[in-house]
């Protein structure tokens, strides 16, 4: 896609989305539990979660394909909870793209404008503009089956944005593409969203996709939004164990919080104790959580304080870092050690000492 100046005809007025206290169950199986979330106008927002977390259900609810048992959905301040899908003006790009095989690319893209009774000449101009926007102007007369996966995806995007929806919904738009296309297309999507100024909601189970292109992310699990924040906030300050574990890798150690006067300490199930920094806020049923790069590995035994002795189980050489799996007492943890050429590596079976950087450690409950 080239950086062309977008004419006003494709630029929509951005609208925010607000979901309030939505509940939805399939039979007796609750899929969304009291979900509330607010998406700012013009924001690129992600629903991120494993399969079965309710993220696609929530997206389809905003599009009007699922009906909430209770709760309200607002788009641009207007209550759309009871509107049918075809009156919502919320554009959706389907995971399967859902291009109609009996129509050409051009007819597919024109469809929504025809439904809106837009004059013929204007339809022609806007379809051409939308196809140029995604770089497929030259394929207007092809059938969807004659296009590659990436091209089909762009047609699906063009078909949706051409009607200037208030919000753009993307349901796992990269899942049917190969790895290389994925990186390219996600950049294009971000680029397009910026140029059109469209409020966009993106559903994905891939944290890397969400981190690289989204302004903010709602992490979902079991029909509940666990946390909302920017990618960095979520990584640095996860609200609970699920978020810490789902975004990046994390070591989680079981134990209990002990209070001795003003000082607090964390005692691992094995008996080892760590002092808890005074500034840290620690819930009573907390576990000790730290990232693999927030620990260091050394051969010297002892040292006390936050040092733990363990045994190297196996190691993976990843280039700039060496990833060690270490057994400490009953638990296995992962430690990433930076690698410089000439460094000696620890062999599996070697006894070592692990030091955890407690300033960057987290005490989280589930």
């Amino acid at each position: 896609m080239s950086q062309t100046v977008i004419s006003p005809s494709l630029r929509a007025t951005a609208a925010g989305v607000r979901v309030e206290n939505v509940n939805l169950a399939y039979g007796s199986n609750p899929v969304l539990k009291n979900v509330s979330v607010e998406i700012e106008p013009g924001e690129f927002f992600a629903f991120l979660g494993p399969s079965g977390s309710g993220k696609t259900t929530l997206l389809r609810l905003i599009a009007g394909f699922n009906k909430a048992d209770s709760g309200t959905v607002f788009v641009g301040g207007k209550d759309i909870t009871d509107l049918p899908p075809w009156k919502r003006d919320v554009g959706m790009v389907f995971q399967s793209y859902a291009l109609w095989p009996h129509m050409t690319v051009q007819r597919n893209v024109a469809f929504g404008l025809e439904e809106r009774k837009v004059p013929r000449a204007e339809i022609k101009a806007r379809v051409a503009k939308a196809l140029d926007l995604v770089g497929l102007g030259h394929l207007a007369d092809r059938r969807p089956s004659q296009l590659s996966g990436g091209q089909q995806q762009r047609v699906a995007v063009a078909r949706t944005v051409v009607v200037q929806p208030k919000v753009l919904l993307l349901d796992e738009p990269l899942s049917n593409l190969d790895a290389k296309m994925r990186v390219q297309v996600r950049r294009e999507l971000r680029d397009l969203q910026q140029r059109l100024g469209l409020t966009t909601i993106f559903v994905t189970h891939d944290q890397e996709e969400a981190n690289t292109i989204c302004d903010r992310i709602a992490v979902m699990s079991d029909g509940v939004i666990q946390q909302v924040g920017s990618p960095m906030e979520l990584y640095e300050h996860p609200a609970n164990l699920f978020v810490a574990n789902f975004l990046g890798s994390a070591n989680i150690l079981d134990g209990s919080v002990l209070t001795e006067g003003a000082a607090r300490a964390f005692q691992l199930t094995g008996g080892i104790r760590f002092p808890i920094p005074a500034s840290a806020s620690v819930p009573t049923d907390a576990k000790l959580v730290f990232r693999p790069q927030d620990a260091s590995i050394g051969s010297t035994a002892g040292g006390g304080g936050n040092a733990l002795s363990g045994v190297v189980m196996h190691r993976e050489f990843l280039g700039s870092v060496v990833r060690y799996a270490v057994r400490i007492g009953d638990s296995d943890i992962i430690v990433d050690a930076p690698f410089r050429s000439g460094d000696a590596l620890y062999e599996p079976g070697a006894s070592i000492t692990v030091r955890i950087s407690l300033e960057s450690a987290l005490w989280l409950s589930s």
Binding site: A63, F94, A98, W100, F111, R116, N176
Partner: protein
């Protein structure tokens, strides 16, 4: 040197055993399909007696008012049947697939019932119900003082054929509607499309291939059908004309052959037109991430209307079954809405002196079905598992039988095998085995499809594993392929059997004596006379039950084999 040649040849031709098998099948198809049909075409284009190429027979055909009339009548009846059948099938298919509708499965099953009755058997029952002096018209005349000419002339044929053949459209259209990915529909709704516009712009175009497939099948079947018009005493249509020409004037008269060629041409054109419509549009609607059309709940008044429509259509299309059943128990049924009294005598008579028909049918249909699955299975194996040169040719030849009307095949057999004497001096064409072979050729395309589908589902690696453990090709086929294909083969056998049991068009030409006649022929003969109607109806009921049991069995077999395969994964 010999080795150097044998190697590449061996790779191309597969094993000698497979090549021999292909040869035998090719010979069979050549003798019993290609030669008879070519003979028909040859006779149509040559001068009687001299064998010189000529178009004079066709000029004669188009100069004879009777034939031109018959041609247009056949076109009219086929087209009108497609229209009327669509009117029956569209609401049923749409309502049962698009809405959560109680009894959808029952409706689909009942909608399939007309197919399991020979159409000409239903014809008599329908005349009693809807004819000029049938039950409906007698009641209408009594109550309102008018009659409806539903069963008059060509329209009677249209009505009977539409009632019989509409399931082809129903089944194909329903399957197509069910295969449409839900996201196709949702994408349209998302862009502002709903209601009837949604149906017109997205749902129906996507289901069109299924509709066209069903409609073209109906067109061809009706165009080639012989027995129904004859039974309704409509003679000025093409297929009946071909039959009458050959049976009354003799097999030397070229006109029968010309009509046969016209029948083939129209069949091929109709099928070609339908494949053309389908292939020009690439409808790969089955995609990832969806699951059939969304089902909508009906509002109470919509539901009431839907049930009325469905009820009316079902009553209409199931009327022949009811009529036939009543007739088989009736003492006298004439000029009255219902029979005068009831009796079991007809069944007694059928099981007495007419039981030879039933016995013949069982023998002919099982032999034909056996030949079909053997040849169909072998062709499927050669196509999918070998690189034999010309294996596609076998597939095409076997499938080409679809385009050959039964009456044409019958004429071809008569002409080709009449001059071949059997050891006892009688012509080969009068041998009952010819009926079996004609039935087998007619049903082969269906059995081939069933076997092809069954074999396609078996992963090649299962066979490679057997070969890897030391089994030869032959033993692999016996120990791995055939057991895994059993479900498909059995289903193919049963459906071939069931349809062969009620087939009449080729049989009508080939049956030479009553003792060789199958059930459908006996039924046809009995139905000609008022006194034979009762026993004829009883025979018809037996045929319906026979086919119904087979259909049910094949359904069970397919279900079970699918479940067994599902358990493996």
């Amino acid at each position: 040197m010999a080795l150097a040649i044998a190697r590449p040849l061996g790779r191309l031709l597969a094993s000698p055993g497979q090549a021999a098998l292909a040869g035998v099948i090719a010979l069979f198809l050549l003798l019993f399909l290609v030669v008879p049909v070519t003979t028909v075409i040859y006779v149509a284009f040559t001068e009687k007696g001299t064998g010189v190429f000529t178009l004079i027979n066709f000029v004669d055909f188009f100069r004879t008012d009777l034939f031109v009339n018959a041609f247009w009548n056949s076109i009219y009846v086929s087209t009108a049947t497609v229209l009327v059948a669509s009117i029956f099938a569209l609401p049923l298919a749409y309502i049962t697939t698009r809405f959560s509708f109680r009894g959808a499965v029952l409706i689909q099953t009942l909608g399939f019932l007309p197919l399991i009755m020979p159409p000409f058997a239903g014809a008599v029952a329908m005349q009693l119900l809807f004819g000029r002096n049938g039950s409906v018209n007698l009641l209408l005349d009594d109550w309102f003082g008018f009659k409806i000419g539903l069963m008059e002339g060509l329209n009677g044929v249209v009505f009977v054929q539409a009632v019989h053949y509409f399931p082809f459209i129903l089944v194909n259209l329903s399957a197509a509607l069910r295969n449409i990915d839900r996201s196709m529909e949702e994408a349209a709704q998302n862009l502002g499309c709903s209601g009837f516009r949604l149906f017109r712009r997205v749902v129906f175009p996507l289901a069109l291939p299924g509709y066209v497939a069903g409609a073209s099948l109906v067109f061809v079947k009706v165009f080639d059908d012989l027995a129904t018009p004859l039974l309704l005493n409509v003679k000025d249509m093409l297929a009946p004309q071909a039959y009458l020409r050959v049976t009354s004037i003799g097999i030397a008269d070229p006109m029968g052959y010309v009509i046969a060629v016209v029948l083939i041409v129209v069949s091929v054109l109709a099928m070609w037109a339908s494949t053309l419509t389908l292939s020009s549009k690439d409808y790969a609607t089955v995609q990832r991430g969806g699951g059939g059309l969304a089902k909508r709940t009906l509002r109470p008044w919509e539901s009431a209307v839907a049930y009325c429509v469905v009820g009316l259509i079902l009553a209409l299309v199931l009327a022949p079954h009811l009529g036939l059943l009543l007739l088989s128990f009736a003492t006298v049924w004439s000029f009255s809405p219902l029979p005068d009294a009831y009796t079991f005598a007809h069944y007694a008579r059928v099981f007495g002196d007419s039981s030879v028909y039933i016995k013949n049918t069982l023998v002919y249909a099982s032999l034909a079905a056996l030949i079909d699955v053997l040849i169909g299975g072998a062709i499927a194996y050669l196509i999918l598992r070998t690189k034999l040169i010309g294996r596609q040719g076998l597939d095409w030849a076997a499938s080409a039988a679809l385009a050959v009307p039964g009456v044409v095949l019958g004429i071809g057999y008569l002409r080709t095998f009449y001059d071949v004497p059997m050891p006892d001096g009688r012509p080969l064409a009068t041998f009952w085995m010819m009926i079996v072979l004609a039935l087998a050729i007619r049903r082969l395309p269906y059995a081939l499809r069933a076997c092809h589908a069954a074999l396609e589902q078996i992963s090649v690696s299962l066979e490679e594993a057997a070969e890897n453990l030391g089994a030869t090709k032959m033993r692999t086929v016996r120990r791995v392929v055939v057991p895994l294909m059993t479900g498909g083969i059995l289903a193919g056998f049963i459906s071939s059997f069931a349809t062969a049991a009620v087939e009449l068009s080729a049989t009508l030409m080939l049956v030479q004596s009553n003792s060789d006649a199958p059930l459908a022929y006996g039924l046809y003969v009995l139905m000609q006379s008022p006194a034979g109607r009762g026993p004829g109806a009883a025979l018809g009921v037996i045929a319906v039950i026979l086919v119904a049991i087979c259909t049910f069995l094949s359904h069970v077999v397919i279900e079970r084999s699918q479940r067994a395969k599902g358990a493996l994964h």
